[in-house]
Symmetry: C2
Subunit: 239 residues, 2 copies
C-alpha cells in the first residue's frame, strides 16, 4: 500500500518579500519522512484571501493531509482561519472553547483580553483545536487541513501535538555515499543502477570542495533490505 500523501501551504507576505526565510517547510519535511507520509508538494502564498482559499481547496482535494503555517495571530493581516473556513465551506466565529482558553491566559498574565486578542478565537465550526503550549492561541484541524502558527517554535510545538493523530506508512529511509567524482562521470552507471531498483528512489547532489567536484549519492526507500542491496552495488561501482 502506498504511503499517505501530504502537502504544505506556507502563508505570508514576509516569505515572498524575502524578509523572512521559511524554516517550517524544511522542519515538516523531516517529520513527514520519519512518519512515512509522502510530502508531495508545497506552496507559498501571500496574505491574500483568494490565494489562500484556492490553494487550500486544491491541496485538500489532492492529498491525505494538508499543513498550513502562518496567519493565525491577532493582527489585520492574519486571515488564514477565515480563508480555510471558506475553502472548506465551514462557518466561522469566536468559538467559546477558544475564547475560554485565551481569556484565562490573559487573565493569568494580567493583560487585557481585547478585541484583537479575541480574533485568535475565530475557529471554524467543527474544527478540533491544536494545543499551543507556547502562546496559548490554538491552531485547528478542519477536515484534512491542519492550521498552525508561522513562528517556528510554535509551529514545531503544534506539529508535535498533531503527529500522534496522523496515520503514517513505512518511514522513508535513506543511505548516502559520498564520492569525489563529478556527477557527469558517475551518471551513466548510477542511472542504470536506479533502473534496476524501480522500487527505490535514487538522487545525486553535486558539491564542490577545495575546487574539486564531488557528488552525494542518495538511495531512498521504505525497505531497508532493498536499500542495503542497492547500496552494496553502489559501493562496488564507486566506493
Amino acid at each position: 500500500m502506498p504511503n499517505p500523501t501530504a502537502a504544505m501551504l506556507v502563508i505570508g507576505d514576509e516569505i515572498l518579500s524575502g524578509r523572512t526565510r521559511d524554516s517550517n517547510l524544511w522542519y515538516l519535511a523531516g517529520e513527514m519522512t520519519r512518519a512515512g507520509i509522502d510530502l508531495a508538494e508545497a506552496r507559498v502564498v501571500g496574505d491574500d484571501h483568494a490565494s489562500i482559499v484556492a490553494a487550500v481547496r486544491a491541496l485538500s482535494a489532492a492529498h491525505d493531509y494538508v499543513f498550513t503555517s502562518g496567519g493565525i495571530g491577532p493582527t489585520h493581516d492574519d486571515i488564514t482561519a477565515d480563508a480555510v473556513a471558506e475553502a472548506l465551506g465551514a462557518k466561522i466565529g469566536h468559538r467559546p472553547d477558544a475564547m475560554a482558553l485565551l481569556k484565562a491566559h490573559y487573565e493569568r498574565q494580567g493583560l487585557p483580553f481585547n478585541e484583537a486578542r479575541a480574533r485568535m478565537a475565530r475557529i471554524p465550526d467543527g474544527a478540533a483545536l491544536i494545543d499551543n503550549p507556547i502562546s496559548v492561541a490554538p491552531g485547528f484541524i478542519l477536515g484534512n487541513v491542519h492550521v498552525m502558527a508561522g513562528v517556528p517554535n510554535i509551529f514545531e510545538a503544534m506539529l508535535a501535538s498533531v503527529m500522534p493523530r496522523l496515520t503514517g506508512g513505512a518511514p522513508l529511509l535513506s543511505q548516502n555515499l559520498r564520492v569525489m567524482r563529478g556527477e557527469g562521470e558517475i551518471a551513466g552507471e548510477f542511472g542504470r543502477l536506479a533502473a534496476d531498483f524501480p522500487d527505490l528512489s535514487m538522487g545525486s547532489y553535486p558539491f564542490q570542495q577545495s575546487g574539486a567536484f564531488g557528488t552525494n549519492l542518495v538511495i531512498r526507500g521504505t525497505d531497508p533490505a532493498r536499500i542495503d542491496q542497492a547500496m552494496m552495488r553502489l559501493v562496488g561501482l564507486f566506493g
Copy 2:
C-alpha cells in the same frame, strides 16, 4: 501601473524529503523585491514529470515571469528541461550551441564528454541559454520560464545574468519598527493605521526575547513618501 508578477517553482525530491533546506526561494524573493517584481507565489514539487509539467503550465499562465530551480544536471533524476519543453509545447533535443559549450569545457578539463554530460545540452527549441559561469552547463529561458540550477551558488550566478533582462517596476521598500509589546496589544491601532493606508502593506511579526514578547511592525510599499508618512504615525502610536 501594478508591478509585474513572478512565481517560483522549486524542483527536487531532496527538498520534500527534508534532506536539503532550500535557499533559492529566499534568495529570489530578495532579488525580486529589489527589482520591483511582485513574487506572488511559489511551489515545490518532486522529481516527477507530470507534477513539473502541471506546475509550469499553471504558473506560466498566471504570471509575467516564472523561475525554476533544480533538475538540470546529468543524472537520470534531472528531468526539468524535458518537462518544461512539454509544458510549453516545445521540441527538445541536444542543441548544437549547448553541445559546443560543454564539449569545449570538458576538453579543457581533460574529462570525457560522455552521454550523461551531453544530457545537459538538452535544451528546448527556441529557448535562449542562460550563462553558467561556475560549471558551464547552461540554464535556459523558454517563453516566460527561466530554468536554472538548484545548487545555490550556480542558481545565484544564473539569476545575476538573467536580472538585467527583466522589466521591473518600482522596488518594494520597507521600514520596520521594533516594539517590546505583544502583537495583541498593538493589533487594534495597527489595523486602523493599515486601513488608512490601503496603498501600503503592513505586517506584524512577533518575537520573544528574554521571556518578553515583542513585535516587529513592517510597512511595505513603493512610494517612499507614503511609507514615511505611515511610519511617523506608527512611531507616534508605539515609538
